[in-house]
Subunit: 214 residues, 2 copies
DNA sequence: GCTAAAGCGGAGCGACCGCTCCGCTTCGCT
DNA sequence: AGCGAAGCGGAGCGGTCGCTCCGCTTTAGC
């Protein structure tokens, strides 16, 4: 038996406003990142504060909802990479496509290591993608192209790093992150490997970092 | 002839307070970065707001003054690296030492690409070090250890990148940046080089980025 | 010890932020 | 057409920030 109250359909003006909010948020967040203010979004959408906050309880909830499509593209990039028979090519393509997404949608930065709980959809997609990522990496290592000492837990370092480059230069040189990634990839090839000075992060540490992100 | 008005010596309480402000600022900025609030510093120093702002006209001025020693250590690291006969070792040591400084003094992040004008001392040391940096890089390329297509203008990318890793993980795993740097360095060796997809930033672009940093 | 100038503290300004609250409007059913 | 409920806008709250202003205190030279 269902104790659930069926959600009454929205009034016409309500659903119209919801669409306008989503559209404005999607555009502004994508163009300028997650720190676009709620007020600017609601002005762009041409609605009041109250309207926005009846549809989305917090700014994080709005973000999470608006990024859903992007999460899908992210997952798709990973799946596409796994479909590529050359494991190294797949690995490179994953990074390139995922980061290109971060350029096209500046709010994606911070999803890799976002606050826990606040954005459940982001957390869910992260959890869902983890095993695939593991496979992408191990497969490349089995084929002997990716350095043996690279761990899935190192992936966030790559994203933090490239996201920072994107963030710094996006307005001036929107493609320079590819150069940075190029250097990183050259350092990730098995032939280039030199012993690394410290062990990778543990998953527990990654969670701790995600939790403590301001 | 000097039209300069000789600065009258500070009253005893004034100079005492100045010292306390500098000491507190140094400690707090180093431990937690440049976004420690002015109010927290003045409370830690046990002085009023007015007192702090008579000695330093803006927060940036305080930062710049307090970081002067760190700028010195930075310059020293570069000179030390140039003294090392093995150019590759020198190059690596420079990055390691400079970044270790960024860990010990969290306010140094952002100096590599800081607002122009606001922190003249930082700008001065950057200008002074640039030719040395150029030499460090070209020397390593002449010795055949550093990849030919690496440009001095790529250096900020490395710092942005590693600083981001430091920032994310400093409280959880204060040494993990060495792992990231290890991967980067493996990608910077001449033997590892694969053609990079885009040209380096120009100096003009770097200035533009520095100027636009929020 | 007196005094003028130098220095002092901290309340408060103005600009942001995310978010709340509530009187008024509009919708949609009868 | 009338009416109750759903939805609406936006002023304003409580918080943070860097910074200013000014009445009061302390210092240092005589």
């Amino acid at each position: 038996m269902s104790t659930q109250t069926a959600p009454r359909p929205l009034r016409s003006d309500a659903s119209r406003n919801r669409e306008r909010i989503v559209a404005s948020a999607r555009r502004l967040f994508a163009a300028r990142g997650a720190d676009v203010s709620v007020d600017e979004i609601r002005r762009d959408a041409g609605v009041g504060m109250g309207t926005l906050y009846r549809h989305f309880a917090t700014k994080d909830e709005l973000l999470d909802a608006v990024l859903e499509d992007a999460y899908g593209e992210w997952a798709q990039a990973l799946q596409h990479a796994l479909a590529e028979p050359d494991a190294w090519r797949g690995f490179c393509e994953y990074l390139e496509q995922a980061l290109a997404l971060h350029v096209a949608n500046r709010a994606l930065k911070g999803v890799v290591a976002g606050r826990d709980g606040a954005r459940p959809r982001a957390e869910a997609v992260r959890a869902r993608l983890w095993p695939l990522l593991r496979e992408l990496i191990e497969r490349a290592q089995r084929q002997g192209s990716l350095r043996e000492d690279f761990a899935p837990e190192d992936m966030p370092l790559l994203f933090w790093s490239c996201d920072r480059v994107i963030d710094a230069a996006a307005d001036t040189s929107p493609e320079i992150w590819r150069r940075h990634l190029g250097i990183l990839l050259d350092g990730l090839r098995a032939e280039a490997a030199t012993p690394l000075p410290v062990a990778p992060l543990t998953r527990a540490q990654l969670t701790r970092i995600a939790r403590s992100r301001r």
